[in-house]
Amino acid sequence: MHRVAGALIIAAFGAALAAAAAAQAAPAATWGIDELMQNLARVKIAKAKFVERKYLSMLNAPLEFSGTLIYTAPGRLEKHTLLPKPESLVLDHDTLTLENKARNQRRTLRLQDYPVIWAFVESIRSTLAGDMQTLTRFYRTSLEGGEDQWRLSLTPAEPKMQSMVSEIRIGGSRNRIRTIEIIETEGNRSVMTITEDES
């Protein structure tokens, strides 16, 4: 179970930046995006820790958030930020719930009301679920690297999203996601680094 958990990945909703993936291993002739997606789809549950840094043009210093991620196939993703302030974000099917226990706040959004946020969360969720169909509905995809060290690049297909995000890079190894980097149009970016949960 630990191994499985470690193998999984989770992801973030927010912004982010991150580590890039090295793309050195020569791709095996048989390995490609379809195989990657199939591998990812096999993961049914995963738990991991994350550290996310946001570099925003309006700020002098990056913001740093950290906490845990839990993914349950096929549609549920939880992001529990612990630092600097506890806050949780739960994506379940088409609703996104933000909860701040300290302030006793709870807000639920329907993704269809916020197309940009929707496109954004799908970049992560559809990747985790290996759901190529949904992914290509929002993004053009390209894959570099090999099975042990891959980098999936997503560029928005819709003009509205294009005006905000220029690229999302997801790096990983086999069926784990290690980094999610989001590059926004106005020079903002965020990088999330995901590590296996040892607990």
């Binding site: 946001k54 309006m58 913001l63 974000l89 933000l98």
Partner: protein, 781 residues
């Protein structure tokens, strides 16, 4: 023609002319308000006004179904685009960004006047510090992308606060950028007509242009499968006008043709046929004119009742014509039958008076129409017809049919025992079923077809506009005072919602705060130098770039000087529609309505909100109100029906001077009423007030039969003639009323089926129960 005859004819024609003049100036109404109480509570009055010309009455709900989601979405967009170009519609919403963008724009530009958070304290350095810390937190969430764009202008999050304020309000689902039902099978649009709800011609035109736009739109995909669904008050009014018009015309026409054919066969004279229709025609004209004079307008359903008069009024001429024995004059015949005829008419009038007394204008109109119509019809029969009837006229069919009818009637008493058994069974059945006899719903009174009601409920659920049950209504002299009153009520509601008495509420002041509140907010906005100083202090130690919030300072400064908002500023947004539906002009001032969500304890809430200090606020429970309305309705009608029956009994007692004869006359009527009600309930009909009225009519019509059966006759021939004329009269009545049973309009249908069954039963039961007393007399003579 004698001098007195000339006077009679002259008076009659003058009366008809007067009626025609009155009618030509009469407004025909078909809205539903005639079936709402005429002396409602102030709260009910608001509802009635809203039904007549409020924004709600102008809404047309549109659904498109059949086919794939993308094709439906495209059809929705194309239909909306076409309708937006038309003058007939004030707004057309289908969830597309266009409307939302305008709403957002309005909220953004006016956020410092609209936001409830604005106070001097809100811009202190401590409050700004807390806001900025929140912003940093939010920048870590997925909302960051949207937030970044507005943060320099709106670090205190007023836009978000305003959007959130409206977010609790139900909204339809959205797919492919337009509104859809939850299951994704129907694309949804909401159009608001420019014309008021009661302007039915304009509403009809608006509905037609929607249908045209839909069928003309070049749609994608399998358009043949796409179906347009329409609902809303306008559609109901237009449809019920159309179906009342069609049904009233169609059934009147069919009834007239059938009755005329029957009578022509009997009379064998065109002239007499036409004469036979004179009492009815005169009665109908008089009825409409009387209603017009008494109520100022005539409801379509009242007109529809003209057809019922054919059944009842034609009888009088039939009684006269078919009972003229060979070689006697109409006058002599009238001398014989007039006392009975007069008593019959008086009995009917007692029956109809029950409706006249109703506090519901629609029912009262029906009562007045029938009474005026019957009086004129019987007067024309009594005074006009004898003058115009060809001399020596007699109906041969009467003589031909008399022996056969007499034989049947003589044998009828044998059925007495079975009849008593049937009545006992029916009575027992009704007693067993008494809990489930009545339809419990005010909707059973509405002239709207059930299928239309279902579709409306469905579309409303889809669109997320379920019928609100609880409302706070506040009234004031003018618009701004009404908004102030709404703000006071809202403050109270806010406290009550924290105590858990309700989940939330909506208020027109959310969309347009009162001038006082706007002014106070404007005054609370800081001067630019003060705001900059507070910001600088608040920003210390936070990673925001220097000067980042300069746009914020600029916007606050501009807001401090901007003109205050009024209704016109909302024009073109969907918020205007909301405002107009919640803030309405009334004959004596303005009313603001605050729909409540999730009311946990209505009684406690009502007590809190209706304190003397806030005398102008009233908690309105629509469900309770409409149940109340319905119970009042039923109680009233039952009450007056019993009163009517009592007066009929008294009238009979005075006229017949024999308790025994009163019993003889009333027994078959009571039996007919019980068995008719039994049959209706047995066939699965939930009785409504209109069935009760139908039963009243059964008594009115049936009493004529019973009285004629009961009448002392001079000879056997006379009696046979009488009975044959009753059969003819009965057949015409059954044709007139029975046809209404085929109508889709609930009121016509209910009365038609009840009277159709009841009239036959009255005649048959009279034959069975009354002839026995006179059987020997018939044989003897």
């Amino acid at each position: 023609m004698s001098l007195s005859a000339r006077w009679v004819i002259g008076t009659w024609l003058a009366l008809l002319l007067a009626c025609i003049v009155v009618i030509s100036r009469t407004e025909i109404r078909t809205d539903l308000s005639a079936f709402l109480p005429s002396s409602p509570t102030p709260a009910q009055q608001i509802l009635v006004d809203q039904l007549r010309d409020g924004v709600v009455s102008r809404l047309i709900l549109i659904g498109i179904e059949g086919g794939e989601t993308p094709a439906l979405a495209l059809a929705s967009k194309r239909l909306a685009r076409q309708l937006r170009q038309q003058q007939s519609f004030a707004t057309v919403d289908n969830g597309e960004d266009a409307a939302f963008t305008r709403d957002r724009e309005f909220l953004w530009r006016n956020r410092y006047l609209l936001s409830p958070a604005i106070s001097a304290e809100h811009f202190s350095s401590a409050a700004l510090r807390a806001a900025l810390e929140d912003d940093l937190q939010l920048l870590g969430s997925p909302a960051a992308m949207l937030l970044q764009r507005v943060l320099p202008n709106d670090p205190t999050g007023e836009l978000l606060r305003l959007l959130e304020q409206f977010e609790g309000l139900a909204k339809p689902d959205s797919r492919e950028g337009v509104w859809f039902s939850k299951d994704g099978k129907r694309a949804l649009l909401v159009a608001q007509s420019r014309a008021a709800g009661y302007d039915l011609d304009a509403q009809e035109q608006a509905l037609k242009s929607i249908r045209d736009a839909f069928s003309n739109a070049p749609a994608a995909g399998n358009i043949a499968a796409q179906k347009l669904l329409l609902s809303g008050p306008a559609l109901f009014s237009v449809n019920s006008r159309a179906s009342i018009k069609t049904d009233a015309w169609r059934f009147s026409l069919i009834a007239t043709v059938l009755v005329a054919t029957l009578l022509l066969a009997l009379y064998r004279s065109w002239r007499v046929l036409v004469l036979g229709l004179l009492p009815v025609a005169s009665g109908a004209l008089a009825g409409i004119a009387a209603v017009s004079l008494g109520f100022g307008s005539v409801h379509g359903i009242t007109l529809g009742f003209g057809v019922t008069l054919i059944g009842e009024g034609v009888d009088y001429a039939i009684y006269l014509f078919t009972q003229i024995a060979p070689r006697t004059t109409p006058e002599k015949t009238l001398d014989r039958i007039w006392p009975t005829l007069r008593l019959g008419v008086l009995t009917s009038i007692c029956g109809f008076s029950a409706m006249l007394l109703s506090s519901f204008p629609g029912l009262a109109q029906l009562g007045l129409f029938s009474i005026a119509g019957l009086i004129v019809a019987v007067a024309v029969t009594r005074y006009v017809l004898p003058i115009l009837l060809p001399s020596g006229f007699t109906v041969h069919a009467t003589a031909v049919l008399a022996p056969a009818v007499a034989t049947v009637v003589r044998r009828a008493p044998r059925l007495r025992l079975p009849l008593i058994l049937v009545v006992a069974l029916a009575a027992a059945f009704l007693i067993v079923q008494r809990g489930a006899l009545w339809s419990g719903d005010l909707a059973s009174l509405s002239p709207i077809a059930i299928s239309d009601q279902r579709l409306d409920a469905q579309l409303r659920r889809d669109i997320g506009a379920p019928d609100v049950r609880h409302l706070i209504v506040v009234t004031a002299e003018n618009q701004d005072l009404a908004l102030e009153a709404a703000e006071k009520a809202a403050a109270a509601l806010q406290r009550l919602s924290q105590r858990g008495l309700l989940e939330g509420f909506e208020s027109p002041a959310l969309y347009l705060p009162s001038l006082a509140v706007q002014h106070a907010r404007q005054a609370a906005l800081p001067e630019p130098w003060a705001l900059r100083a507070n910001l600088q202090h608040a920003q210390q130690g936070l990673p925001f770039r220097a000067g980042l919030f300069e746009p914020f300072v600029r916007d606050v400064t501009a807001a401090k000087q901007q003109p205050l908002l009024n209704r016109d500023n909302l024009q073109g947004t969907s918020l205007a529609l909301k405002l107009d539906s919640l803030l309405v002009k009334r004959s004596n001032g303005w009313a603001a309505m605050l729909p409540l969500r999730g009311v946990a304890d209505a009684a406690a809430l009502g007590q809190e909100i209706e304190q003397p200090a806030r005398k102008q606020a009233v908690l309105l429970d629509l469900k309770r109100e409409s149940d109340q309305l319905y119970r009042t309705y039923r109680r009233e009608i039952t009450h007056y029906s019993l009163l009517g029956a009592g007066v009929i009994a008294l009238l009979l007692l005075i006229s017949l001077r024999s308790a025994r004869r009163v019993f003889d006359v009333m027994a078959p009527l009571a039996a007919a009423v019980i068995v008719t009600a039994g049959v209706l309930v047995l066939t699965g009909t939930a009785l409504s007030i209109f069935h009760l009225i139908g039963l009243l009519l059964v008594v009115a019509v049936g009493s004529n039969y019973a009285l004629f059966f009961d009448r002392q006759t001079a000879s056997a021939q006379d009696r046979e003639r009488t009975i044959v004329s009753l059969v003819f009269a009965n057949v015409t009545t059954v044709i007139g009323f029975g046809l209404l049973a085929f109508s889709k309009v609930p009121v016509l249908n209910a009365i038609g089926s009840t009277v159709g069954i009841g009239a036959i039963l009255s005649l048959v039961f009279s034959a069975i129960l009354i002839t026995r007393a006179h059987d020997t007399a018939v044989s003897r003579c």
